[in-house]
C-alpha cells in the first residue's frame, strides 16, 4: 500500500509541473498575439488619421524640398509594409519616436507621467476595495436592511454624478473652505526641487528616503483625488460584490455549511465570499485598468500630471508619436492586467485549472 502511494506521487507532481508550464506558455502566446494585434491596430490608426506627421514637424511654411527631406528622414517614403516592419521593430524596443510637443523621446515622457497615474489609480482602487467589498458583503447578507439601502444609494450616486462635479465640490469644501487637504498638483512647490523621485511613485519614494515631511505633503495632495476615484471604484465594486454574494448565498453548499454547524461569519467570509471572489477578480482588474488609462477629467481638475492629461494634450496638438506611444503603453497595461486576472482566476477556481 505504501509502495503504491509513493509510486503515484512523483507522477502527480510531474503532471502538476507540466500543467504550470503549459499554462505559462499559453499565457505568453495569448499575450504576444494580443500585443501584436494592438501594434497593428495602432499602426493603421496612425495611417488613417488625417494628420500629416511631416507637416506637424516642419511647419506649414516649409519648402517642398524640406518636406521631402523630412519625409525621407522618417521613412515615410518607404512602402507601407516596410514602414510597418520598421514600426514593429522600434515599438518592440520601446522606441516610439520623439514627441513634437516636448521634443523628448516619447518613452521618456511616458515614464515620467505614467507613475503619477499608476500611483493615483492604485490608491483609488485600494480605497475602493477596502470599503467596497465589506459593504457589498454586508449589503448582501443583510438584504433590504439600512446598510443595503446605503450601498444602493452610494451605487446610484456613483453611477449618476459626474466625476468632475464631485471633484470640484471636493476641492471647494476640503481645500478652499476647510483647508484640510492640499490643492491641485502632486507635491507642494516647497518640496518640488528638494525631492528626488526614484520610481515616480512619490509616496513610495518619500517613504524609502525617509522624507516624512514631503511624504505628509504628498499624502495631503493625493488623498482627495484618490478618494474621489476610490468612491467611484467603491460604488462599482460594492454593487458587484453584493450581486455575486447574493448569488453564492443562495447555493446549496451554504445550506450544507449551515447544516454542519459552522458560524455565520465563517460561512459568509470563508465560503460565500471565497466563491464570489472568482468573478470579482475580473471586475476589479477591469476597474483598475480603467483607472490606469488615466482619468482625464480627474487629472485635469487636480492638475495631476498623469498619462490621461499627457494624452489629451498630445492629441490636441496633433502629436501623433506621443498619442500612439501612449496608446500602446495603455494597451499593454490592459493586456497585462487581463492576463493577471486570468491567472488569479485559475488560482481561485480549481475548476478552471485544466
Amino acid at each position: 500500500m505504501a509502495n503504491v502511494a509513493t509510486a503515484v506521487e512523483p507522477g502527480r507532481r510531474r503532471k502538476g509541473v507540466s500543467a504550470v508550464v503549459s499554462a505559462v506558455l499559453r499565457f505568453v502566446v495569448v499575450g504576444a498575439v494580443t500585443f501584436l494585434g494592438l501594434l497593428t491596430v495602432t499602426f493603421f490608426i496612425g495611417r488613417v488619421v488625417p494628420i500629416d506627421p511631416v507637416l506637424a514637424i516642419v511647419g506649414d511654411r516649409a519648402s517642398a524640398s524640406a518636406v521631402a527631406a523630412a519625409r525621407q528622414q522618417y521613412g515615410l517614403d518607404l512602402p507601407l509594409w516596410q514602414q510597418f516592419a520598421l514600426y514593429l521593430k522600434k515599438a518592440l524596443t520601446g522606441d516610439f519616436g520623439t514627441s513634437v510637443l516636448s521634443s523628448n523621446p516619447v518613452m521618456q515622457d511616458i515614464l515620467r507621467v505614467f507613475p503619477a497615474t499608476l500611483e493615483l489609480a492604485t490608491a483609488g482602487t485600494l480605497i475602493g476595495l477596502f470599503f467596497g467589498i465589506p459593504l457589498g458583503v454586508l449589503a448582501a447578507v443583510k438584504r433590504d436592511s439600512l446598510i443595503d439601502q446605503i450601498v444602493r444609494v452610494i451605487g446610484l450616486v456613483g453611477y449618476s454624478i459626474p466625476i468632475f462635479w464631485l471633484g470640484l465640490m471636493g476641492l471647494l469644501i476640503f481645500y478652499a473652505k476647510l483647508d484640510w487637504v492640499a490643492g491641485p498638483g502632486r507635491i507642494d512647490i516647497a518640496y518640488e526641487y528638494t525631492f528626488t523621485p526614484i520610481t515616480g511613485l512619490f509616496l513610495f519614494d518619500a517613504a524609502i528616503q525617509g522624507e516624512w515631511a514631503a511624504f505628509a505633503d504628498i499624502f495631503s495632495h493625493i488623498i482627495l483625488p484618490a478618494s474621489l476615484l476610490g468612491y467611484f471604484s467603491m460604488a462599482y465594486i460594492s454593487r458587484m460584490t453584493r450581486s455575486f454574494m447574493l448569488n453564492e448565498l443562495a447555493q446549496e453548499y451554504i445550506v450544507a455549511a449551515r447544516a454542519k454547524g459552522l458560524r455565520e461569519t465563517r460561512i459568509i467570509w470563508g465560503h460565500a465570499l471565497r466563491n464570489a471572489a472568482v468573478p470579482l477578480v475580473t471586475v476589479i482588474a477591469l476597474s483598475y485598468a480603467t483607472l490606469l488609462e488615466g482619468s482625464v477629467l480627474t487629472e485635469t481638475i487636480f492638475a495631476w500630471p498623469g498619462i490621461g492629461m499627457y494624452l489629451t494634450n498630445s492629441l490636441q496638438n496633433a502629436d501623433m508619436n506621443a498619442v500612439l506611444g501612449g496608446t500602446i503603453v495603455i494597451g499593454t497595461v490592459f493586456i497585462g492586467l487581463n492576463l493577471f486576472a486570468d491567472l488569479l482566476y485559475r488560482l481561485l477556481d480549481p475548476r478552471t485549472r485544466a
Binding site: Y253, A256, R258, A259, K260, G261
Partner: protein
C-alpha cells in the same frame, strides 16, 4: 426512546400574493429508527427537514405546539444552541453533491471544518479522523480523496464525502433529504448500503426524505406520506400495501410491476378535498 417530537408544526411563507402554507399542522415523532417521509415535490417534506435543523429562511414563520429534540425546545432555543446542535447532534445530507459541496474547497478541508466546528481537536487528529471517516464511507483511497476538489470526484464519491462530512461529529439524528435522487441507479444502492450500515452501527435515528415509495418501503421501518403540507398517512413500512388513504393507494398503484402486465397504468388522482 424518542429523539424528536413534533406536534402541529406549520411553516408559512408570507408573499405579496398572500401566505403560502408549506407545512400545515403535522405531528410525528422519531426515535432511534428509520422514518421515511414520502411525498411529491411541494408536499412540504424538505421544509419539514430544514425546520428541524433551523434552516428555514428568516422570512418564513415556523410555529408548533411542540418541537423538541431530546427534551430541548427547539423553538425557544437560542441561535447559538441551535447552531451547536447542527452537525453535532442533528445533521443533514443534501440531494446533489455537485451543488452541496463547496466547489473551491478541498474535500478533506470541508470535512475537517465540520469536525472542528464542534470539537477542539488539533490539525493532525482532525486529519486522521477525517481519513478514518472517509474509509468508513468506503472510499478506497482516503488520502487521495482528501486532497481532491468536489469537481474531481464522481457523484457517488461526492455523496460519500457528504455523508462523511455530516457524520464526523457523531450526530444522533440524521436527516437525509433525497440522498440518492441525483445518483445513478447502481450507485444509489451503494450509498444506501453505506447509510444503512452507519445508521445501524451508530444507533442513529434517521429521517429519510424521498419520493420513491418502493425504495423507502424496503429501507425504512415507518413511512409518513405527505400531501400538500399535511401528513395523510402514517404506517409501518411492512404494511404499506394495506395503506388506507387514497393518495397512498394511488401512489402504490402507479408503480408498474415486472410480473403483471397492466394497461393502461393508473395515473395519480388528486382530489381537492385532501387539500383541506
Amino acid at each position: 426512546m424518542t429523539l424528536l417530537r413534533i406536534e402541529d408544526l406549520s411553516i408559512r411563507f408570507p408573499t405579496r400574493t398572500g401566505d403560502i402554507e408549506a407545512v400545515r399542522d403535522i405531528s410525528f415523532s422519531v426515535g432511534r429508527e428509520r422514518l421515511a417521509i414520502v411525498g411529491e415535490s411541494g408536499s412540504g417534506k424538505s421544509q419539514t427537514g430544514r425546520a428541524i435543523l433551523g434552516l428555514t429562511p428568516a422570512f418564513a414563520q415556523v410555529t408548533a405546539k411542540r418541537l423538541e429534540f431530546d427534551g430541548i425546545d427547539l423553538l425557544k432555543a437560542t441561535p447559538r444552541l441551535r447552531r451547536d446542535l447542527r452537525g453535532k447532534r442533528i445533521a443533514m445530507i443534501l440531494q446533489d453533491p455537485k451543488y452541496s459541496l463547496n466547489p473551491v474547497m478541498r474535500i478533506g478541508r470541508q470535512i475537517v471544518e465540520a469536525l472542528r466546528a464542534h470539537e477542539n481537536v488539533g490539525t493532525r487528529e482532525a486529519r486522521e479522523r477525517t481519513l478514518d471517516m472517509l474509509a468508513a464511507v468506503q472510499i478506497r483511497d482516503p488520502a487521495r480523496v482528501f486532497d481532491l476538489y468536489p469537481h474531481e470526484v464522481s457523484g457517488g464519491m461526492g455523496q460519500r464525502a457528504m455523508i462523511a462530512m455530516m457524520l464526523i461529529a457523531g450526530p444522533e439524528l440524521l436527516i437525509a433529504d433525497e440522498p440518492t435522487s441525483a445518483l445513478d441507479v447502481t450507485v444509489q444502492l451503494d450509498i444506501l448500503a453505506i447509510l444503512d450500515r452507519l445508521v445501524a452501527e451508530r444507533g442513529m435515528g434517521l429521517i429519510f426524505i424521498s419520493h420513491d415509495l418502493r425504495l423507502v418501503s424496503s429501507f425504512c421501518d415507518r413511512v409518513i406520506v405527505m400531501y400538500a403540507g399535511r401528513v395523510v398517512e402514517e404506517i409501518a413500512a411492512s404494511e404499506l400495501s394495506r395503506a388506507k388513504h387514497p393518495y397512498t393507494q394511488g401512489l402504490l398503484n402507479c408503480m408498474p410491476s415486472i410480473d403483471a402486465d397492466r394497461h393502461p397504468l393508473p395515473t395519480l388522482e388528486r382530489r381537492p378535498e385532501w387539500l383541506l
